[in-house]
Symmetry: C2
Subunit: 320 residues, 2 copies
């Protein structure tokens, strides 16, 4: 009798996380569940917008704009031009095709559907086999205290282009959030063989997921290896403000700080070949591989490295 | 001391009404107020859509698609393609640029602005001098009883392409509607010199306006000439199902029936040169002119004919 094939769980923010998720989905198909950050979600012009869910959807559906890593390929911008003419806000770009996702999702949410249900519907329509799971169905919002005052995530990230210095990050609504049934079931799956924290921003993309009450404990309670991919390569974030934030929060911008930040949660860290020299000093098992993902093959290779690292760590992690 | 220049009021449905409104606006500028049918308004995908207001806005802003008479010129359709991919409804076409109007209007209405206020804001942004006035701010919906059952206006007009046979037309919510302050003020304006009923469908576009309680009486009480432009030329409607509806409701599809329908309300009827032979038998003053509007000059010429007809009828109408 053949063994049931293993399942895996990924935690993901936006672009970087979606790239690795694509590699994992290529290998695992429907044996992959991705818990996606929804701390960036916001309402804009009456539309519910979920940037990281959209990036996951478009990336896994092979419809993402390859140049930016977010938004749709072949997008047009008539809406934004007309909106500007009518005096509407221009700081958040809404592509014409992208709007279909926002309009449909908003309508379904208003009809009473959960964000989890709507995400599953959209994924099914886009023929995505992996399970794209919002981290929670309740509003949990990343709010940033900065040198220019309190900012919502999109105000900081898009409108202010990450220029303000961060003082504190908080997650409004976290106390009312809870893991969804689908997330809990993915974690309780007896076939679960590993959890991969994608190379997303630990503070802005992974922390909101871990802020869902009970989720961090549930990850540990799954008793499977948890590996993270460092988002820092040679002191720089591949994309986004991770390195800048680390400096503002008083950390060295390197993979050692990432290991320290995830201490107690992860069993192993994957770092880039450019940082191979850091490996001997790391306080936990490390796998050194190419983590920069440009081509599809890069994503698949990194995914395979994550899975083999999990397999290697398996017995030790289970003994925790 | 020079006399204050005259103001005029037009009643308009969609394409045909907007064309004449454009001609009137060319001559009158901000001395024109247009009461626009909102009986066709509906909510679709969570968006408040006002087809006749949009046609008025786009036409008067010189942004209308000249080929169709509605929608925006140079429109793109990425939203509809993406919507189809996601399983959304395709029967009502939403152009990418057009969506900006719907999204902004819907947001303003949700914020508590009246339809009148939002229409004024949009008109101002589009540099329209004439006053585009929804017939009322309350929902008054045209509902059609037909041989295939009860249909909302858009179901009948767009989805079913006017194929069902009409049995009855009703206006849901009419009892709760009332003329807006802006409509009442336009009617009470001492400079008001005439009211023009555009060549819109009397049953589907003008009747909903006249169904607003008190509005018909207020038109008469203004004691200025009321002239209508017949939407029927040589037994055919220029656009839409007017002739078909007349047959279904047991009328001959000609301008005599239009005169009969508006009897007691209008003081004069403008009919097309093709129907000149009908003029001698008409039960009211008639002006014969070219009513088919293709070029901009056609619209301006018909507008001037309306205004001169009002001037001619003036003393008699005032004596009513």
């Amino acid at each position: 009798m053949s063994q049931a094939p293993n399942t895996y769980l990924a935690l993901s923010g936006g672009v970087g996380g979606a790239k690795l998720s694509l590699g994992l989905a290529h290998v695992l198909g429907d044996r992959l569940s991705i818990i996606v950050n929804t701390g960036d979600d916001f309402e804009h012009l009456g539309l519910y917008i979920a940037p990281d869910l959209d990036t996951a959807l478009y990336t896994l559906a092979d419809r993402v704009n390859a140049a930016t890593g977010w938004g749709r390929s072949g997008e047009t911008w008539s809406f934004m031009r007309a909106l500007a003419e009518l005096g509407g806000p221009g700081w958040f770009q809404l592509g014409d095709g992208d709007l279909a996702t926002h309009v449909l999702r908003t309508e379904r949410l208003r009809q009473g559907a959960s964000l989890t249900a709507v995400s599953a519907e959209l994924a099914r329509r886009l023929s995505i086999a992996a399970h794209i799971l919002p981290m929670c169905d309740e509003p949990l919002r990343t709010v940033l205290e900065s040198d220019v005052g309190t900012l919502s995530f999109q105000e900081y990230f898009v409108r202010e282009r990450c220029r303000p210095r961060l003082r504190q990050i908080r997650f409004d609504g976290a106390a009312q959030a809870k893991p969804t049934r689908q997330v809990s079931e993915a974690l309780a799956d007896r076939r679960l063989a590993g959890i991969i924290i994608c190379p997303s921003n630990p503070w802005l993309s992974v922390d909101p997921i871990l802020a869902v009450p009970g989720l961090k404990q549930a990850l540990r309670a799954a008793r499977v290896p948890i590996v993270a991919v460092s988002p820092i390569i040679a002191g720089q974030a591949v994309k986004g403000p991770a390195a800048k934030i680390m400096a503002e929060l008083g950390m060295a911008a390197d993979s050692r700080s990432i290991a320290g930040y995830y201490a107690g949660l992860i069993d192993g860290l994957i770092i880039d070949v450019e940082d191979a020299a850091l490996a001997p000093d790391m306080p936990l098992p490390v796998r050194v591989t190419k983590t920069l993902m440009h081509a599809r093959d890069d994503k698949i290779a990194l995914a395979r490295a994550c899975l083999s690292f999990c397999a290697e760590l398996g017995p030790a992690a289970s003994a925790r």
